[in-house]
Symmetry: C2
Subunit: 276 residues, 2 copies
């Protein structure tokens, strides 16, 4: 029987721990503060950031919310620069993608490394690659937290990172290079995906394609980390076919796997930043 890596249940446990940690911080006179910044007026993104706000407030984090419906690189960078210096703010999260016309690298590069609790800035990603202390992207933290809570080993595994975004797959590969893992990374279009999946002990996917990894591709006992989020109407499907999960020793379900972990990981980084 495969272990189901339950992101909802794990996230709830983490949230309880965070509430206790925030209480301890409050008793020592520190109110953790998180700035949430969203550009443009995309309703889906706005709803997600509002959810982050409610969750943050539910564990006792002060939220400083900014929606910039119209803005420029200069204005956004100047807001971030101000927040970098604000002692009430311990973490800064900018919702990506930015609205059209803004320069993502310039914006994330402005976030001070010690406040980069969502792991977006080049400085953070460089430290992740070097194996130095930093706040890794929530997606990376989510995966490693599930491994930890379910006592799965990373060391010695051959891990296929199938994906290439700057907020998940590439940082994950960078992180794994410091964990005695054989890491193989490929983009979603790679024609050799079947052969690479076949040899992997762990497969993490970010392929943007429903059931792209099929049952015949995986080896028996594989661990599957499915970061897929493929909508068909109201239904959401992972990148990995159920037939592949039948052969897995452990896997993240979709929905209910890594997704629900993301906000709690952001908030945990915020509390770490507030207590350091």
């Amino acid at each position: 029987m495969a272990i189901i890596l339950d992101g909802r249940a794990t996230s709830e446990k983490v949230m309880e721990e965070l509430a206790e940690e925030a209480k301890r911080l409050a008793e020592s006179g520190v109110t953790p503060g998180l700035s949430l910044i969203i550009t443009g007026d995309d309703k889906y993104s706005l709803r997600y950031v509002k959810l982050k706000q409610r969750r943050a407030e539910s564990v006792g984090i002060y939220v400083d919310f900014h929606q910039l419906e119209e803005t420029t690189n200069e204005e956004l960078v100047s807001l971030i620069t101000k927040l970098n210096k604000d002692p009430k703010i311990h973490g800064i999260m900018v919702q990506l993608p930015l609205m059209e016309g803004l320069d993502e690298i310039k914006v994330v590069d402005a976030i001070a490394p010690m406040k980069d609790v969502d792991g977006l800035s080049p400085n953070t990603l460089g430290k992740l690659l070097m194996g130095e202390e930093c706040y890794p992207p929530a997606g990376v933290e989510a995966i490693m937290e599930l491994f930890k809570r379910y006592s799965l080993d990373v060391e010695g595994k051959h891990w296929l990172v199938a994906g290439e975004t700057n907020f998940l797959s590439k940082p994950l590969a960078a992180y794994l290079m410091n964990r005695k893992v054989r890491v193989t990374q490929v983009g979603p279009g790679c024609p050799h995906l079947p052969d690479l999946v076949k040899m992997a002990d762990v497969v993490s996917t970010e392929l943007f394609k429903k059931h792209a990894v099929t049952g015949d591709m995986v080896k028996e006992g594989v661990i599957v980390i499915d970061n897929g989020n493929n909508y068909e109407g109201k239904n959401v499907y992972g990148d990995v076919d159920p037939a592949a999960l039948e052969k897995a020793s452990a896997y993240t379900p979709v929905p209910g796997g890594t997704g629900p972990m993301l906000i709690s990981m952001l908030l945990r980084n915020t509390l770490k930043a507030a207590s350091s």
Copy 2:
């Protein structure tokens, strides 16, 4: 017949081009300036930095040389901060490893990204991972320049990065993740090295062990990038056995492969920084 990727000849060509570029810059009123910083009194390192100085001066770069035999993190960071603001200085290189007692990450993190011509800072490495513009470490540039000059393709290859330093193998893997390559990275101690070498189209090694990659490991037609530098008395040997090179379609010799390219790549980054 294998193509021998001749680092000495290529480096000489690059140096000629750099001298012309520096001349053009001088005519437009810019003297490129490079700060070279060395800590402690290791004779071998000092000799190497002095060689960098001579080479830099030979193409018309102004060198600002600092040897700090005794220093502290604070003093070193304060020197770098001063140089970050100095308009005569376009590039800053700190020789690693630092003398005992100094904090490498704190020091390299102080170098301004736009002057980090040796690609040591977390900011640079993060940009490399993201596929953003930056000055990659000289070791990475050396390899990619040899590929370019000998018209070897990167795209579509399966590249085994066997090594895990912060100045070569991990940044190389990060860079390759943005080049439509299947990248597999492992540390030198990996027991699965033979299997991984077998499947690779390109093998780059940083194994610190004479002839660790043997003839039976590689596949016919492999491209070998040997970054080994293993001394036995006055002789230097690569990480790859000559029997493996016999099966290669192209390889870097040791000595005379990537090593001689390093200084010219540092200087090229310096000229780029001076002209931007």
